[in-house]
Amino acid sequence: MADIQIERVRKDFGAVRALDEITLHVADGEFVALLGPSGCGKTTLLRIVAGLETRTAGRIVIGGRDLSDVPTRNRGLAMVFQNYAVFPHMTVYENIAFGLRMQGADTTRVQAQVKRAAELLHIEMLLDRYPAKLSGGQRQRVAVARALAVEPPVLLMDEPLSNLDALLRLEMRADLKAILQEAGTTTIYVTHDQTEAMGLADRIAVMHGGRIVQFDTPMAVYGRPQSTFVGGFVGSPPMNFIKVDVTGGQAKLGALSLPAPVASGSVLAGIRAEDFALVERDKGLPFNVLVVEPLGSHALMTGRVADQIIRVVAPPDTAHAAGTEIGLAPVQQRIVWMDAGSGTALGRSA
């Protein structure tokens, strides 16, 4: 039983503010991804939770216990490092057994736990090897096995898959999800890869410039971004933001007129690439197709709306050739309206 409460945590590196009043509550057994571009403070936050980095202000409470000033070794958590940090002078077996031995577990328990963790990660046949003789993917599995062997209430992972090649990453992602779901471990998972966060997490905390800008389920973060930053960062291709003028509460998109959350002025209509229906030119928003990329499962069309470049995903057989002009009809209830100035969401259209 361990939930994680991060309360108003701030971190300054000299004059640089790396974390600005971060508050985050991870429920017991929940898998939360910290997602954000490089340099936004994800690692710093994770290291503060682990006690590897000092905080400037704030509290870390795990399972109801204030751990803010408790040394790392007594926080009762496990961690998987980005570069794995597998001990090179110990066999795989000794690596996995390390945490258990430090806890003073007896031999039978050590053996049983190492065996279980190794089986979970399919590395039983590597137990006698030294890390130097392992591939990156195998080392990664050792690092995860070492963390799981102690049956930690809380698991922290810092970009654990970023050093693997694409295929291994996919495989490892599925394995991780299955293993952690079964173990019920409260997990904070740092990544800059939005597909990873979407695929793994129960909830995603999107970070930007040392703040959490949105904390929600993957589908909500994807479908209802609270700012243009989130919409642009999460999802591939990024969300389109089309600038439209509103008069009398109606936004005008080509031939279409849609209800907008403001009475007048200029707003951004955030629309996902797949949320368009292709219609005839004069029945929708005129779209000038510039490039078509057939991607197998779908086609990605890049083109111009007025003077803006947007991307549209279409079923592979309905894509139009480059140079043609068609109409787009956005799925109305999926549009996210954003303030043109601040780039923050305006609430749902009336």
């Binding site: 961690m79 090179p88 002078h89």
Partner: protein, 268 residues
């Protein structure tokens, strides 16, 4: 591998071996060849007969064994002190960011820029006062001062080469700072530390200036040989020279595994 590469490779190895072994061989010839062997030209591959006389007589010179023992004491102590003081300093330089770290690094090197000759007189005076004058312990202290900068800087680069995350992982899994050092950092740094220790030993073993000034009767081997051999026949000098070289060579040979490990050559 093609023939040309093999030839170049072999030539390189032979050249390097010759560079080290030929002088040693000539010294050995001089030491074992007797009075005539030193001056004989051209040198024969092997001496006509091995004359152990010079070596034997040399080893019988009064005080050689005592001097050798002094050398071992001084060098051993210098080695221990250099590691005991240098490794923590190296660790601090490698792991902690503190105000003046760069200045500290520079100061370490600066101690080597200070000429020993200037220090000699005041050192002698204070050593007499403390009672360290004319003991191998006093010599060991000075040699430690000479070896310490290297020990600190070499171990610092060793520790820098051990990823911080390894230590952090040890903390995560329940180690104190000290336990993490013992269980993770030390085993990984050990080959390098051993090499550093040998380096300190050899620095002390070879040093002659400070050792000559700070001792009168309790001379180290180098200082003692310098004194007595200047008046001895040439083949005695060769015998003494060989005796000075052999321990360093044997010592380094014994720990070559660690040196190779430090240089990244796999030991097969």
């Amino acid at each position: 591998m093609n023939a040309l590469r093999r030839i170049v490779y072999a030539t390189g190895i032979i050249a390097i071996c010759a560079w080290v072994l030929v002088p040693i061989y000539f010294i050995a010839l001089g030491a074992f060849g007797g009075r005539g062997g030193v001056f004989a030209w051209p040198k024969t591959g092997l001496p006509d007969r091995v004359l152990l006389g010079a070596m034997q007589r040399f080893l019988e010179i009064e005080g050689v064994w005592e001097a050798a023992l002094n050398s071992v004491i001084a060098a051993g102590l210098c080695m221990l002190l250099s590691i005991a003081l240098g490794a923590p300093a190296g660790y601090a330089l490698a792991r902690f960011r503190f105000r003046g770290a760069n200045l500290y690094r520079l100061l370490i090197l600066m101690t080597r820029a200070f000429p020993l000759a200037i220090l000699a007189l005041p050192l002698t005076v204070s050593f007499i006062r403390i009672g360290l004058y004319d003991t191998p312990y006093g010599v060991a202290l000075i040699h430690t001062a000479l070896a310490l900068p290297f020990a600190a800087l070499i171990t610092s680069s060793l520790f820098v080469g051990i990823p911080r995350e390894l230590e952090e992982a040890a903390w995560i899994f329940g180690c104190t700072r000290w336990q993490a050092f013992l269980k993770v950092v030390l085993p990984l740094a050990l080959p390098g530390i051993a090499a550093t220790a040998i380096f300190a030993f050899v620095i002390s073993w070879n040093e002659v200036f400070a050792a000559s000034i700070l001792t009168v009767r309790e001379r180290t081997l180098t200082a003692y040989l310098l004194k007595i051999l200047s008046e001895s026949p040439l083949h005695y000098r060769f015998a003494g020279g060989l005796l000075l070289i052999v321990p360093s060579v044997v010592f380094i040979f014994a720990v070559r595994k660690y040196l190779f490990a430090m240089w990244g050559i796999a030991n097969r």
